[in-house]
């Protein structure tokens, strides 16, 4: 599995993404600059890392979503290539038209940085095959704009097509209520594209790959991708 990590001005989790991919694959993925127009030949997986691209100017992910490299990312996704957007990467995927909906300001206006439980909605995708469907994992969240919103029709389509990847839940796997940190519609923490080859998620699985720093629940996502 050949991965590449895209770097935008203001990205700050690219190092974490590189480390998680290297731990899973044994290879250090190349960093691709946002102004480049091509991905490295043979790229299977493109990762859009977290951070604050362009200082969150205009709207989170709005300017990065229209960067030169995004045409190559869109073409890669259209060919069925894998794309993973984490946190700001998820916002960029929504702004760049690769995923529907938008990430709005957290309901209580606060930047949230804490550990959070998620329910893995399905375990038959390239991103989640190392998990069990319904499994509860504990990963980190760190965002000010993670409140997923879309029109009713889009939400119904995402639910109907089984495109919700992760939902916010409590330790016991109960979804909703206080377990929802940001007001996200239907407790959505991550969604897939139609063909399930694009995943956008607010939480940070790349930070939970080492027992030394709080757990390894995020490693399953990268193990899944290696098998893809």
């Amino acid at each position: 599995m050949k991965a590449a990590v895209v770097l935008f001005p203001g990205s700050n989790r690219e190092g974490d993404a590189v480390r998680a991919i290297e731990a899973a694959t044994g290879h250090k993925p190349p960093i691709v600059w946002h102004a480049d127009t091509e991905l490295p030949a043979g790229t299977d997986l493109v990762v859009l890392p977290g951070g604050f691209s362009y200082g969150d100017y205009l709207r989170c992910g709005a300017i990065a979503g229209r960067a030169a490299i995004m045409d190559a990312v869109r073409a890669h996704a259209a060919r069925g290539g894998l794309v993973l957007g984490i946190c700001n990467g998820f916002q960029i995927l929504c702004e760049g038209g690769l995923l529907p909906g938008v990430l709005m300001r957290n309901k209580d206006l606060r930047f949230i940085c804490k550990m959070q439980h998620l329910r893995v909605e399905r375990a038959d995708t390239a991103f989640t095959r190392a998990y069990r469907a319904g499994q509860v994992i504990k990963v980190a969240i760190a965002h000010g704009e993670g409140n997923y919103e879309a029109d009713d029709e889009t939400i119904a389509r995402l639910e109907g097509e089984g495109r919700v990847a992760f939902r916010y839940c409590d330790e016991a796997g109960v979804v909703g209520g206080l377990a929802n940190p940001n007001g996200s519609t239907h407790d959505i923490a991550g969604i897939y594209s139609e063909k399930r080859n694009v995943l956008g998620m607010m939480p940070h699985p790349e930070n939970l790959i080492d027992p030394l720093v709080g757990g390894v629940d995020g490693a399953g996502l990268f193990k899944s991708l290696v098998a893809a």
Binding site: L58, R59, A62, I63, R66, E95, P100, G101, V102, M104, R105, N106, K107, D108, L109, N147, E149, A150, D151, G183
Partner: protein, 79 residues
């Protein structure tokens, strides 16, 4: 030619920032405030004197970047 583009949240979209401002105005004792919605204003200097051409350019700018039409509306005024 100059233009002003106003981008506002669509009706029904939750606006926590507007709500916080509304709360602050009420706690300041400013009377007569019903509700507040926050938006953005862009003042654009145009490189053309042709009004139709300017409107086309501004509409493209709004659709492509200035507004996220999933949740936002925009209004263009040539001033």
């Amino acid at each position: 030619m100059k233009a002003r583009v106003t981008v506002t949240l669509k009706t029904g979209v939750l606006d926590p920032q507007g709500k916080a401002i509304e709360g602050a105005l009420k706690s300041l004792g400013v009377e007569g405030i019903g509700s507040v919605r926050q938006g953005k204003v862009f003042d654009v200097e145009l490189g053309t004197a042709d009004k139709a051409q300017a409107e086309t350019a501004l509409k493209t700018a709004c659709e492509k970047l200035l507004a996220n039409t999933v949740v936002e509306n925009y209004r263009i005024e040539i001033v």
